[in-house]
Symmetry: C2
Subunit: 423 residues, 2 copies
C-alpha cells in the first residue's frame, strides 16, 4: 500500500499501541531474512485466523516528478498475475506467502495487463476526485500547503500525468522499489514466531534482492512565512465548508514527545463532542453544524494538522473562520487544563484497549509505523509517551505549530457563476 | 544566463523586433557549426563595437528537484577560471570567443573555487530575497501559482537547498547542459557573418559535444480551478501592496496570435499613465498611488501575467482589489476599443523603433527568444503579428486567461504582530 496514511490510521494507532503493553506487545518477534526482508510476528491465539501484510517502503513522494500516480498505479498492478501464478487466490498462510513472495519481483507487466488497469485508475480518479469538489479542494490545498515537498502531489497523481503512465514507467518503478530489502512482512494471528520464520524463509527467503535501496531524501520545505487561501467553487456544492491545513512535524521528524503533544492537542481541539471546537462552535455559539481537527503523525516527512468546520446556513465562512480562529487563539494563549489533558490521555489509551480485538488493524499499525521509520519498540511505547506529555508541552506545540504563516485555508463554496467576485 | 526572463525583457522585445524589418533584420545570418552550436550574427556597422553573448538552453526549471539554485549557481561559476585561462579578461572579439569557447566545457571546479562562490550566492539570496519582503512574497506566490511545474521554484533556489549545493552537483549540471549543441552564440555589431563564421569555427568549432540534449519536458500544471491568496506580513513593510499572478500561455505554448493578444492586453491594461488600471485607479478613483500589469511571453512553458497596485493610505487592500477586479471585469465583458488597440500597437512598435539603438538589447532579445524555442523569423515577424491582432482577440484572451481560478493574489502588509488576525 503505497498511500500516505490517513487520519483513520492515526486514530487506530491509539487503539493498538496500548494492548501491546497489555500482553500482545511483549510477544512480538522481529527479525530480518538474509535478503533484507524485515519480518514482524504478532501472535494472537484467540481465534484460528491470521493477518498477513507486506509493506513496501515507497510512496507517492518517491515518484519521479512528472510521473505522479506511479506508486498508486503499482498498488493496482500488484494484483495482476506473475509467471508462476497467472491467476487465482490462496487462503492458507503458506500459499499466501508463496503468492506474495512471487509477486514481489515476478509480476508480468505486459501492455495487455497495464493498459486496462490504467483505465481503472482513471475511473477511480474520476469518481473519487474529479466528481468530488471537496476532494478537488483537498488536492489544491495540498499543492498550496507544500511549496516544495512532493507531498504537495496527489497520491493518485495529477490526472494529466496519470493519463501518460505506461508499462515502461511502471516496470521501472517496480524494479526500483519492489525488492525484499525494501519491504516489511507483518504476520499477526494464530501463529508462533518460529512457524512464521520457517515459512518466511521457505517463501520470501528465496526472493533475490533486485535493487539496493537509497535514503528517502525528498526536497524539503523552505521557511513558510505567508498564510495562503484556496477557494473552490462548484455548482454541486450544497454545503459550504472551511478547512485549514498546518504544516507540522510527523512522528519521524518531531523531537521527542512533540508528535505526541500534537496527538493530544488535536484530540482536545477537535475529536468528538467534548472537543473545544465542537463545544464552542456547535454547542455554545451555534455557528456550525460540525467542527473538528485531525493529525496523522505517521509520515516520513513533515505532515499536516487539519482543522475544519461546516457552518450553519445563517453563518458565513468568514464568520465561521473568525470563530475557529478564536478557539485556536485561546488555546495558544492559555493552553489546556490539567483535567482536559487527563481526559484526553485516558480516552486515547482506553480507545486502544477497546479496539484491541481488531487483528488486521493491529498489523496495519505496525506495518505503517515501521514503513515510515519507526521501530517495534516505538510503537509499543506510544502509550508511555502519551502519558508523559505535560499541559505545557501541549500549549507549546499549539504556540509553535498553529502558526498561520505555515498554513493554507480552504473554502468550499457553491459556484454562483460570478467568478470575478470573491466568494 | 540561466534565469527566466523578466518583464524588462518583454518590453525590450517590443523595442527590437521592428527594426529587424526596418533594415537590420534582413541581414541577420543564422548558421550551425558541426558540433551543434547555433550562431546568430546581427550586423550593425554604425559604430566599431561588437556585442557577444552565449546562451545555454537550460534554466532553473531543468534542475533536479531538491537541488534548486543549481542553474543560477552555474551562472556564477562560469566566471571562474579554466585550465587554459586561469584568470583574465579579453576585449578583442577573437579573444572573447576563445575565452567563451574554453569555458563552455573547460571550467575547473575545485572545492577551492566552488565553496567561496556558494557564500557569494547565499549573500546574494540574503540581500535580494531574505531581506526584501516583496521578493519573499513573490517567491511564495510563484510556489502557489504553480501547483506542479518547476517554475514554482525560485530561480536563485530555496535557501535551504542552496546551502546544500556543492562541487559534485555543480559539475554534474555543468557536464549535462554546457555543451555546444545546447548553446546559441549571438554576435551583434560591426562584423560580417563571414568574419563571425570564420572566428566561430576557429574557436567554438573546436569544442567537442560533451553531452546529448534531451527535450525539455517539465511536469505540467493540472487544471487550475481554485483561486489562491498569499499574505506576507513583515515589520519592514511601509507601503502595503497587492499583486495577482495569472497562469497564461507563453509565446512557446500559445496558439498563433494569442501571446501577441496577451502582449496588447497587458499594454492596454497596465502600461503607463494611459493604461486602464492607472487611469481608473490613480487618476479617476484616486484609490491607488500606482497600478499596472506585466507579461513576459519569453518562456518554454506557461508563464504568468501580473497585475499590481499600491493603495493610497486611506484605501484598504480589499478596496483596492475590488477596484482592480472592476477594471478587469469591464475589460472581460466589453473588450477594448478600436482606438485604444491602435494606440497600443503604435506605441509598442514605435518603442521598438526608438529603442533600435541598443545593440546589446537587440542581441539579448534574439538570444532569449531562440533559447526558449523561437526562430529568427519568429522574432523578425513579431511586429507583423502584433498588427494582425484584433479587438476581439484581445477580449477573448482576457475572457479566457484573466480567470481567477488560474490565479494567486498576494497581499504585502505591515506585520502588526497579531498573526492570528487575517490582514
Amino acid at each position: 500500500m503505497p498511500k500516505r496514511l490517513t487520519l483513520a490510521l492515526a486514530a487506530l494507532a491509539a487503539a493498538f499501541a496500548a494492548p501491546a503493553l497489555a500482553g500482545i506487545g511483549p510477544q512480538i518477534a522481529n527479525f530480518t531474512l538474509s535478503n533484507g526482508l524485515e519480518v514482524i510476528v504478532i501472535p494472537d491465539h484467540r481465534a484460528p485466523v491470521v493477518t498477513h501484510m507486506v509493506w513496501y517502503k515507497v510512496g507517492s513522494a518517491d515518484e519521479t516528478p512528472g510521473k505522479s500516480g506511479l506508486a498508486h498505479f503499482l498498488e493496482h498492478l500488484m494484483f495482476k498475475g506473475t509467471a508462476k501464478n497467472p491467476a487465482g487466490r490462496f487462503s492458507q498462510l503458506k500459499d499466501m506467502m508463496e503468492f506474495e513472495a512471487d509477486r514481489m519481483t515476478g509480476l508480468v507487466l505486459t501492455d495487455e495487463v497495464v493498459r486496462p488497469e490504467l483505465n481503472v485508475v482513471l475511473e477511480e480518479q474520476n469518481m473519487r476526485v474529479a466528481n468530488n469538489p471537496a476532494a478537488r479542494l483537498g488536492e489544491q490545498m495540498d499543492a498550496a500547503l507544500y511549496l516544495n515537498h512532493p507531498y504537495g502531489r496527489p497520491v493518485i497523481g495529477w490526472r494529466h500525468e496519470i493519463e501518460q503512465l505506461n508499462r515502461d514507467g511502471a516496470l521501472e518503478f517496480y524494479r526500483r522499489f519492489y525488492t525484499p530489502n525494501n519491504a516489511i512482512l507483518v504476520v499477526a494471528g494464530d501463529v508462533t514466531p518460529e512457524e512464521v520464520r520457517a515459512l518466511a524463509q521457505e517463501t520470501y527467503g528465496k526472493v533475490p534482492r533486485v535493487a539496493e535501496t537509497k535514503p528517502r531524501l525528498r526536497p524539503q520545505e523552505p521557511v513558510q512565512e505567508a498564510p495562503r487561501t484556496v477557494t473552490l467553487a462548484d455548482p454541486r456544492v450544497t454545503q459550504p465548508s472551511l478547512s485549514r491545513y498546518y504544516l507540522v512535524p510527523s512522528s519521524t521528524t518531531a523531537p521527542a514527545g512533540e508528535s505526541e503533544a500534537l496527538d493530544l492537542l488535536t484530540h482536545i481541539l477537535g475529536h468528538g463532542p467534548n472537543s473545544r471546537l465542537y463545544r464552542t462552535l456547535v454547542v455554545d455559539k451555534g455557528v456550525a453544524v460540525s467542527a473538528g481537527a485531525s493529525y496523522d503523525g505517521t509520515a516520513v516527512d513533515n505532515t499536516r494538522l487539519s482543522v475544519f468546520g461546516t457552518p450553519k446556513p445563517e453563518t458565513s465562512l468568514p464568520q465561521l473562520e473568525e470563530a475557529i480562529d478564536a478557539v485556536l487563539a485561546d488555546l495558544i494563549d492559555n493552553g489546556v487544563t490539567a483535567e482536559e489533558l487527563e481526559r484526553a490521555k485516558s480516552r486515547m489509551i482506553a480507545n486502544a484497549v477497546y479496539a484491541n480485538d481488531n487483528q488486521r488493524m493491529l498489523a496495519q499499525w505496525y506495518g505503517a509505523s515501521l514503513a515510515t521509520g519507526a521501530t517495534v519498540e516505538d510503537v509499543r511505547a506510544w502509550p508511555d509517551r502519551i502519558r508523559l506529555v505535560t499541559a505545557d508541552a501541549v500549549r507549546d506545540a499549539a504556540r509553535r505549530w498553529l502558526d498561520k504563516r505555515r498554513s493554507v485555508t480552504g473554502y468550499l463554496v457553491k459556484d454562483t457563476r460570478h467568478e470575478e467576485k470573491r466568494s
